[in-house]
Each structure stands twice: as C-alpha cells, then as structure tokens.
Symmetry: C2
Subunit: 616 residues, 2 copies
C-alpha cells in the first residue's frame, strides 16, 4: 500500500497480528486527525473501535497500541513521550501509559505514527521496524532477560546500536499485573502493559529509521519553536528539574501528604536525607529525552551505606516515595537500588511500592507471618527485605506471586479482612500524594478513567500552589474541586495529543502549543484553544464510555474506606478525611454526567461528537 | 604535532600520563616498524624501553599499552584482536594479553595504533579518544559498575552508541591480581591488566572515529584478501567454530588431559553434557569480531536446571573447563552463568577457575574449613558455592580476598603446605590442558614469558594431531619437543604482529600473511617468511630479556611438583608425569640460550638485533 506522508504525521498505522503473523498498513483517516489530533486521542479512539467489551486483557483479543505524537521527532521541545493503550489486566478497563526517551521520535523516523499489536505469538518474538519495513524475529533467547540485557542484545543482533526499544522484563513475561514497558530505562510503567506484551509473547518492539517528518509551514514552525525555547530559558525555575530532579518530597512532606505506612500518616521522618540537595550530590550527570532541553533525568550513584555501588536513572519522585514512605525507610540508597531493580525486572515502581507497603501492613496486623513471607521480617523500618520482595514479585516466587496480582486481587485472595489495606482505585494503586490533604488531586484519582494516577489530572493548584483562574486554591476545600478536576483532566488530555511531557507544559501555553501543532500539521483548527478544549473533553469522555461499555459506573468511582473514614494521623494534614460524596457529585455535574450514575448524558456525548458511543 | 599517516598504520602513538593529565603524540619510528612490524612487536619493544626494572606493577611507573595491528580496520579477515602490555601484578614480569571484538579496529579509526597510559589519576577517569582528539573524563560514577553497565553508560554519556571500549569491572578496581580488561564481553583476561588499570584509576579507554586506513597497494591488498576469503571457504572445518564453538573438551577429554580436581585427573565424567552438540543447542546466535567471517562467538542461553535463564557470550573452551573440571561439575548451566559473571565482574575465567579449584582442594585436604569459607561447602561436585566465590573474589570479600591474589600468593599467605596445591607457572595459573599428556604444550607453559598460557605457543601437534614438518607427533614423547615449542612460540609471535586471531591463522600461511602485510604497509621485507621468522624470534627473546632484567631466570622456568612427580591419576594419560629437566635442556639448546642459566647468549641476541639488551 502506498501511503503518502502528511505534514507532522507519517500517516501510517502498522497493524500486526501475532497469531497469524500478518501485517497491515493503514493511513490515518482525516476524521481521526481532525477529531483526535494524535497521541492520546488516537489511542483511545483506536482502542474503542478495535476492542469488543468483556475480552480478556491477557487474551489474544486485547491490543497494545504504541503511539507517537505529531510533534515527536520534530525540533519542538519536549514532545518525545510515547504512549501505550490497552485494556488493563490490573483494572479491567481502558488504560493509557506513557514513557520517555527516544522511542517516540525513532518510531516516527521508522515511518509510523501508530503500531497496533494484537493476537498471540506461538513463541517469543520481537517486532523490528526499520525504515518502513517490518518483521517478527525470534526472541526465545531473550525470554527471561532483564530490560538492559534485552536492549543490548537486540542492538547487537541487529548490528544497529541506535535502535530504540520498548521492551518488557521478566515481570511482563510472568504476567505481573503491574509490569511496565521500558525504553532505555524510561518506563511506561503503570497498568500492566508489560503483562499484556508478555501474554502475547512479545518481548520488544524495536524501531529505527531516517524518514523525515514534513512540516506544513516550516517557517512558522521554526518561529514557534524559537519562541518555545525562549520561554523555557526565561522561566524562573527552568533548571530545577536538571538540578534536583522531581524533588516533590520537599513539597508533599511539608503539606503532610507524603503517604506513610500504607496511607496512614503523611509525614516521613528523616525525609531530609532524600531531598533535592542530596539528589544533587548523588547525581553523576543529567540525561534527557530526544529534543528536550530540560534534562530532567539523571544517573544517580550511591557511594556509601548498605546500598553502596547501586545506581539508577532517576529515581523520580514517585519511586523515591514508593520505597520509603510505605515501609518507613528514608535510605536514599534503597530508593536508587529498588529503582534500578524495577527497571531491570520491568516493574511499575508505584504499584510495586504499594504492594510491598500492603504486605508490611498485613505483617503488622498479623494477617501474614514469616511463614507466608519465607522468613522475611516485614517490620516497619526494616528495609532489608525490599529488594528480595521486588525480585519475588517479578519472578512470581513465594509471596511475590500473590502480590504480583496487584493489591486489589491480592487482598481478595488473601482474605482475612485484608481488603481494607488494599489502597487502589479501580485496581490501580495510588501514587505518592495522600488525597486527604489534596482534594482535587484525590478527586482525580477517583474519576480518572485508568484509576488512581497522577499523570493525567495532577492538581498542581494544591501541590505547588498554582492559581486556578487567577485565584489561590485551598487544598482542603471541597467547593470548586469538581471544576478544577475537570479542568486538570481535560487540559492534560489536550497536551497528551502532542504528546508533550508533563514537566514541560507549564513553560508554554495552549496558544503556542496550538501554533506548533498547526504549523507542523497544517491543521488550522488546532490553533484554536477552544477547539483544543473540545478535543480534550472528547477524549476524556470517550475513555469514560470505553469503561462504561465494560460495565464500569459510579460504583467504581470510589477510593478505599481508609481515606474516607480514617483521619490522617499526623502532620499538617492531620485529622482530614477524603469527602468523596460531595466531591463526586460536584464533579459529575460539572462534567454533564448523570449525578446518580456517573454516565455522560446523551446531550454531552452529542456535543462532543461521541454519538457513536450511544447504544441504540 | 602533525603526523602523517602511513599505509597500514595511523603512525600515531598516544602517550597519556594520568598523574599530571598530560598527553603526547609520537609517530612510529621507521626502525620500530621495520624491526617489530606491529602488535606484539610494538608492545614488547615499547614496554622494554619505557619501564625500569623493579617497579611496582600496581604503581604509577607501570604502563598499560594498548596496541592495534597494522591490518586492524582493513578488509583483511580476522585481524581485529587488540593487545595490552604491562608488567604483571600476578607474575611480576612481562605480560601481554589479547582481546577481540571491535576495539582494535575502532582504535585505528580513531587515529592511533598505540595508546600508552602511565601514572595514576587522582580520581577515577576514562580516556576518550575521538577522531584523533582525546580527553580524560570523570569516571567516579562508573566506579563499582560492572562491565556491561560501564559500556552502556559511557556510550550514553558520549551520546555515541558506536563507541568501543576497553574497560574494567569491580575486580580490576579492587586490584584482583587476575582481573582482565573487557570490550563488549571480549576479554584480554589474563595476567592482571585489569588490576593495572584499576591501580591507575582508569576505568576505561573509549574510542571512536572514521579515519581511514591507507593501503600501500590497494589492488594487491584486495587480491590477497580475496585469496584469504577463498581459503577460508575452502577449509574443511571452516564452519566448526560457528557451529560448536571451541569445543576442545571433545579432544582433551579423549586424550585424558582435561584437568580435574586441581590437576590430578584428566577425564571428567559427564563431559558429554557439555559437548559441541549441546552448545549448538544452547546457542541463540553467533557473534563475530570486526571483519571476521568465522563468527566463532555465540550468545548462549540456559533454558532449564539450576541456572535456567543464565546467558553469556561464549563460553569458550577455557571457561567451560574452568568451572567444571576443577570442582568436578559438568553442569553447562554453571559454565554459562560463571562465564557471564566473570565478564560482568571483569575477571579472567581461567585464573578464577583455578583459584576456586585450589580452594576446593584445600577444603578437601582440611587446610581450610567452613570457618574460612564463610560456611560454603567446597566439596567436589557441589557447584552451589561457585557464583558466590566469583563475587567474593571480585569484591575481595571473605576468602575471596585471599584468592584474589592468585594461587601462588594465596598459598604463601595461607601456608600450611598449601603451596603444593597452587598450580601456576611464574604466578600465572595453568590453562585447561594437563601438561603430563602433552609435553610440548607443557614446555610452552614452562618457558612462555608470561607464564602458563595457551595462546602463544599452543601445541596443536599434540592436541589436534597437526603434523610438525610433515610428521605426526607423539604427545608423550620428549625428544624433539624443544624444537616444536620454539617453533610454536616464534610462529605465534609472528602472527601476533598482525594481529591475527589464533582461530584463523590455520586457514592461511606465512606467505599470504606476508603479502597482506606488505600490500597494506608497503614494507616489502614483510613478504619474506624468513624475515618474519627472524622478527618472531626477536620478539620472543626480547620478552625473555625483559624478564631477565627483572631477575627472572632458570629458577622461574618451572612447573608445580605435582605435575612433575604425581602421575596422572586416570584416563588415557594415566601414569604420565611431566619431565621438565630434559625438556628444558633441549629447549634452551634449540633457543641458543645458556643451558644452565636459560639466558640468551650474546651471539643470539646480536643475531636478533637485540644488542641493546646486553649489559655493558
């Protein structure tokens, strides 16, 4: 099939069926581009159209869709995120996860915007896409290998060291429900995309190419990029990411929302030994994604203590938290060692830390004992078992085999009242912000279509004091949080079309973003912020309709009782609970959804051009 | 300094002094090229000239010299070995070690034939040579990292994935006396070059470039290369390396010279589970050095048993033996796992296997007990402690700290009669051929200037039945072995100038080799086999004079008493001993050395143009 590239896009979707080893190329439809722009928009629309409800997330019928945005591979800054879409084995619903590095740009250079993989290969394979050509190659010998080895050996096999990969580690192969997909230690970690790949016997997608990306208006595009760069440089805190990484503990601990002991407390003693200045000390050098001047990443190396010699790329805030707060440790060495081990094994560090924190609480409560842990002493403050537990989870050994199911399912299997200690929304474990001290942030956990995540609806108004529509926001207040949450969610859906990095969007605005999109693609409608808001809301609602088709509803827009009923135990958010009912009611109303059922109204769906989701 | 490249050579030596961080470029002298050709010739002459006797091998005054040959980086096949030269911390004498892969060709492409590093950096550094330019870069964060991580992180730091490295792992940093230097899992393993680099705080030498290698007579060179390729293709066993690797066990075990239990027996029960057909099964794919059609390397992967999931590049014969015969195991999984661990840690597998075999015998004899081993049960046949011991050696933990000194020094420290169990020559542990069943092979161990090695003087006449001057050779015979040994040693010195791989030299002859050298360099004298033999003998004798300057003499041309006095216990070589005295006397005579002292006569030295080694 001859497909003509169009500006911004390569205008090519590659469909791969692993069952019968067939390939199919498709152009992007004009409607798809107009209605969904790219990135997350493409992902949700394609997944909605392709999947039937009730399929097994780990079965042949599920898909994993890899998407690069229309600005990936261009000179625009910070558009190098890639996204994966699939029905999640952890939540049973729509899922989107996102990683950085160089995979998105290289996918574009290889000639494709989107790769859709379905079916199941008889034997382990990897998909090799090279300059518009593609093949499945044997990956039997790679099965069992960690992510770094997989990268090295595939590059060596292809004699092409500039190949970029999205691959899984042992965790994905073993069907760990929160196994991620990794590219040069950058993870699309959440939701179990790694398990989906593993279920298909797909070890990796490898991409390489030199295909250029046309621009509709190169001059206007250059001018917009120049403006973008100038704005980055002028931003007062532009260099903070490269200096101290995502040192959010300095914010969240002060607010008392740094979750400790499985979301009981909100302040971690000794956290100053893991702050930005310490990270500055252990940072060997910065790393960056393709065409991004932020250089947020870093190679960190531990030079003393129990974890001497450990290193990782990162860790970022969520990982710093995942191996400290949940078990009451503040050893920066452990966070680095655990971060690397999760990257090697191919695990989402957030869910891994939660699963381990869950086990620690079960141990404290006497629900499990050393008999269950294989002799490991899971007493708070004892960090020695952590690396062992991570390996056990990845390899599904011992208690790791149960924890590998995620806290919701693990609690169901363990029983004995352990359900109350499983801290998740829709099956997805909570990130490192206690919702009792940040109500919009928590409302986002409750209503986000993928479950409790922080990447798509982050309430910067509450965490960093960003104003909302010119006004300061009281993080404890309930009033107005429905509107803020909707705004945060739709706003993020807009940027996720680009696909722009969350760390970067604050440096520019929708007007400039629209100009970048328009100059690249020639689609004038993308210049209009109102149009972008319409698309953002459309995306969010279509995700909702995916889940509703799967049987999700108001019953799933919930959060563990602990957060609703047990007041925060300590610190500046002490005494607070998360008032889900009034928050949710507000939110549904602002969304134009039925306040009782949480289902989008027909009017809203029609307004958003989502008529096709309305059942006859 | 402006240096004009000359055909075959880049005509550039880079001298680096790590103490004061200075660099100096030198051209190759006409005499050096004429008298020593390249490779091993350059290495021994430069080392002899540069070093004073009695310096500390781990002190600032020692050098490590990296050399690529005149044919490296050309289209000639199998000339991609690189060599390192240094005074050995294991033997206290001259040392040369050799590795494969792509480092030699890339060093040439970067603009240099030779890199000489001396001094000691205050902090860990790596040397980065890029297109004729060079700099020292901080390697503090790389200190402690394994060889694979070091490769990855340096390539990432330089944003140059085609960079080639020669680096050390933790073993070299920790001064393990048999730590090697590694390039993409290809090792210049023997003699402690890794410890020398470690003592200098030199983590790696990284090279990259696009500088072409001129050829004196491109047409003649192409014709010679074509002839070389044709000869490879016509050779009956050409594909055996790529099919079964270096499956020498099938030869040595049949001859009863596969050393078991620290060189007591010569036959390993169960060896058929590690034979070529098994390696063919576990081989995922072949690997190769730059411009080599042999493809001897392989990625091996273990799919069952205790070591399931383990993989390595290789293992080659010596490593297969090192973790089987010495401890009476025949688990192919262990050999693969141990091979990879040695590559990661940066250890010579031959000396590591010997050190472990030495410990097993001490344990058997009651010289050491579980108190000394930290509870490890070193009973023959129990392979469980092996990986642990390898790590302990690399990290100098527990008993590993003593074993890391090499068997000679370890025995000296342990005492209690353990010296009789240290199987080495000049401090270098024996490779995987029992000399009692291969007398020329053993005579080479005794007289090789680096100690007991198999790479430079291999007696293929005894191991594979190759004829010598048209006649079959009796491996047990003493008569004639002096001449064969000299021939094997000088012959190898000739090929080591190229630097041609030992696996490949059998496919061509000195006549064609000479034409390749001559067409590349324009040096007509290299076409004359008689001249090549002169250079080979010159090199070997200059090495000898290096050692004599260090105080070596006949007393060091010895071999452990076990091999001289204890008859081989089992198999087709049962009852044999190694008759050192008559063998050595023959050898000295053939060499033109004083039969009492083993010192080359003045006449011999003058004949070889080595007058400068004669003390006034």
């Amino acid at each position: 099939m001859e497909v003509v590239p169009m500006p911004g896009y390569q205008n090519r979707i590659l469909r791969v069926n692993l069952t019968d080893r067939t390939f199919k190329e498709e152009p992007l439809s004009d409607d798809l581009i107009h209605d969904y722009i790219g990135g997350r928009g493409f992902g949700v629309k394609l997944l909605y159209d392709d999947l039937s409800p009730d399929i097994d997330p780990l079965g042949e019928e599920n898909e994993i869709i890899f998407v690069a945005g229309p600005l990936a591979g261009t000179s625009a800054q910070s558009f190098s995120r890639w996204k994966i879409f699939f029905k999640s084995p952890l939540t049973g619903g729509y899922f989107m996860s996102s990683g950085g590095g160089h995979f998105a740009s290289e996918l574009k250079f290889s000639g494709f915007d989107v790769v859709i993989v379905k079916g199941k290969s008889e034997r382990p394979v990897f998909l090799w896409i090279n300059e518009g050509k593609y093949e499945l190659r044997d990956a039997s010998y790679l099965w069992g290998m960690d992510c770094d080895d997989t990268h090295n050996l595939i590059r060596e096999e292809l004699n092409n060291p500039r190949v970029r990969l999205a691959c899984i580690g042992p965790a994905g192969e073993n069907g760990v429900k929160f196994a991620g997909v990794f590219s040069d230690r950058r993870a699309a970690g959440r939701g179990g995309g790694g398990a989906v790949m593993g279920s298909k016997n797909l070890k990796a997608v490898a991409v390489r190419g030199n295909k250029k990306i046309d621009l509709a208006d190169p001059e206007a595009f250059s001018a917009a990029v120049k403006e973008q760069v100038d704005r980055y440089r002028a931003a007062p805190h532009f260099k903070s990411f490269s200096r101290t990484g995502t040192q959010t503990p300095e914010f969240t601990n002060v607010l008392g929302i740094f979750p400790t002991r499985n979301f009981r407390g909100g302040v971690l003693p000794g956290i100053e030994t893991m702050d930005g200045s310490v990270f500055n000390e252990i940072r060997a050098r910065n790393t960056a994604c393709h065409n991004c001047m932020i250089h947020c990443g870093s190679i960190s190396k531990i030079e003393s203590g129990r974890y001497k010699g450990s290193w990782s790329e990162g860790p970022e805030y969520e990982t710093i938290w995942a191996f400290s707060g949940p078990i009451l440790s503040s050893d920066i060495g452990l966070t680095v060692a655990a971060d690397k081990l999760c990257d090697d094994m191919g695990l989402d560090s957030i869910s891994t830390g939660n699963a381990i924190g869950f086990a620690y609480e079960l141990y404290e409560k006497g629900v499990i004992s050393k008999e269950d842990t294989g002799g490991l002493d899971l007493t708070y403050g004892n960090d020695k078992p952590v690396l062992n537990l991570i390996k056990q989870i990845a390899l599904r050994k011992g208690i790791g085999d149960i924890l590998a199911e995620g806290t919701r399912e693990a609690a169901r299997r363990i029983g004995k009242g352990s359900e109350q200690y499983a801290i998740h929304v829709k099956g997805l474990e909570l990130p490192a912000y206690d919702p009792r001290g940040a109500k919009a942030h928590g409302l986002n956990y409750v209503t986000l279509n993928i479950g409790a995540d922080h990447c798509a609806g982050y309430a910067g108004q509450e965490i960093f004091g960003a104003p909302f529509k010119g006004k300061a926001v009281d993080r404890f207040a309930i009033e107005g949080k429905g509107e803020i949450t909707k705004w945060n969610q739709d706003d993020r859906a807009i940027w996720n079309c680009g696909v722009m990095c969350n760390f970067a969007t604050g440096y520019i605005d929708l007007e400039l973003y629209g100009r970048l999109l328009s100059a690249a693609t020639g689609r004038k409608e993308f210049e209009d912020p109102d149009y972008l808001w319409l698309v953002g809301e459309r995306i969010f609602n279509l995700e909702r309709m995916f889940n509703i088709r799967e049987g999700f509803g108001r019953k799933d827009d919930t959060i563990p009782e602990r957060l609703q009923k047990e007041p925060m135990e300590d610190g500046p958010s002490a005494g607070k609970v998360f008032e889900i009912e009034p928050l949710l009611r507000q939110y549904y109303t602002v969304r134009g959804w039925d306040p009782e059922t949480g289902i989008p109204s027909h009017a809203k769906l029609k307004e958003l051009g989502l008529d096709f989701t309305i059942k006859a």
